[in-house]
Amino acid sequence: MSTRPSRLFHNMNAKIASVPMVLTAMVVFLGGSIWTVVYSFTDSKLLPREKWVGLDQYERLWGTNRWLVSIENLAIYGVLSLIFSLVIGFVLAALMDQKIRFEDVFRTIFLYPFALSFIVTGLVWQWLLNPDFGVQNVIRGIGFESFTFDPLYDADLAIYGILFAGLWQGTGLVMCLMLAGLRGIDEDIWKAARVDGIPAWKTYLFIVIPMMRPVFITTLVIITAGIVKLYDLVVAQTGGGPGIATEVPAKYVYDMMFQAQNLGQGFAASTMMLVSVIIILIPWAYLEFGGKRRG
């Protein structure tokens, strides 16, 4: 009787091929996250050290004006960029879906900013919104001497200047996802609605958009994941300024970790980012996967 090979060595090649995945998942993603959370309870400065200080870092974090501004900015940017990119993206997709000519040309134009990095995007819009040479200067040049449009130099408006650039970069992607969703709708649904005499806008609102729920949710998750990571754009476009007007959490983390030599603060701030992502993800996972089990 031959001995049965050990279970461990069964399907060995597949296991070898999966080693990088297992290492990444367990060591970097899981291990790294846990490590950061644990060390957020220390007073690590230049180097991590195991001097436990309880919730001190979090108290300090929420007592720091710069962090509060960062959170506020991210909330403004997040909510507005979600609303605008979904609305603009859907409207553009709906227009593109009207059997128009030159569809490929329009799609290429709407999507190209998405191929560019946030750094490039930020620098272009920094230039366009430059009050001495950009849009403001041009409009003053045509005769509107008192025209003011310098969002990047006005602390109250600077975050909207970043929103402008962010929307320019990302709306094309939303449009593409929406268009794919629209194309996935059974053509007979449109025919049935026409026979029923339902105007196009009502068909979109009451039939098509509800049918595209999964596409909307996926898009929502993608945009949200991108919003939380917002960093490069701010660095390139305003550097967080004027003052601290456009600071965002991701930048706070980086600055604390690698410039202020205040690792503990960085860990606490990044843990807060992790918590916020979990708060967003859990309802989504529940809706997506919990719902399927019930149905």
């Binding site: 990444t24 227009l95 799609r107 040049g141 980012m273």
Partner: protein
Amino acid sequence: MADVTTNPAPRIIDGPRGRKPTRALSGRNIMIYGTLIVVALYYLLPLYVMVVTSLKGMPEIRMGNIFAPPVEITFQPWVKAWAEACTGLNCDGLSRGFWNSVQITVPSVFLSIAIASLNGYALANWRFKGANIFFTILIIGAFIPYQVMLYPIVILLREAGLYGSLTGLIIVHTIFGMPILTLLFRNYFSSVPEELFKAARVDGAGFWGIYFRIMLPMSLPIFVVAMILQVTGIWNDFLFGVVYTRPENYPMTVQLNNIVNSVQGVKEYNVNMAATLLTGLVPLIIYFISGKLFVRGIAAGAVKG
């Protein structure tokens, strides 16, 4: 074959006939095309301004408006951006960042695709116990903000003696490319008919044989999609470049930001725009060449398994 009808002599009846008359300039068309064209112009404007600015001399920029085409075209800003622009003490232009980016992007793309495709293949066709748990963690990991994992990776790389080196950054890109690529390949290989896989096994092919002789040749499109995704993603990266490399190894995006946002000296907007365009050129070229595949890539990346 003749047309057979009940009524071979059709009555001629008055009233509407044929296509419902529509004007080419109907209100509906004006609304649709008008909106699309206005939005398209808005999207094109920054690219246009970049190009125009980069071809002007500084005096002209100070005088005129940013939308005006250059009166006197000069390529001097491009030359300067590429070969002379300063970051800190180095004044050898963006060319260094460009070559750094090439050295980072090429191995990262190959390594990440090789690992992720093998992995996706194992997950799709050679499932083993526990594989899905790791895969789920990997996918959830894609949603964790990078900031959470930044420092632990610094420690890992420092322990391995790779912190600050190009190799270290290549490993980081491979790690963070893994969730999306593995998902992409797993889904693609899952859609390959199982019969084909079974037939190959009956014919005696093993894990590697099936991968190299069957899966790889029939999956070239998805490899191209993965490549587009990775080249643009890695080329455009800023955060990992700035965290995990030393100044002499900075990728192009980091160097660009340092050139443009440096506080020293007089701002040369034309050089800045030329540098910005140069940095955006690689992904733009890939985008315009790949066309529909690019769209497919982002759609594939977007759709959950």
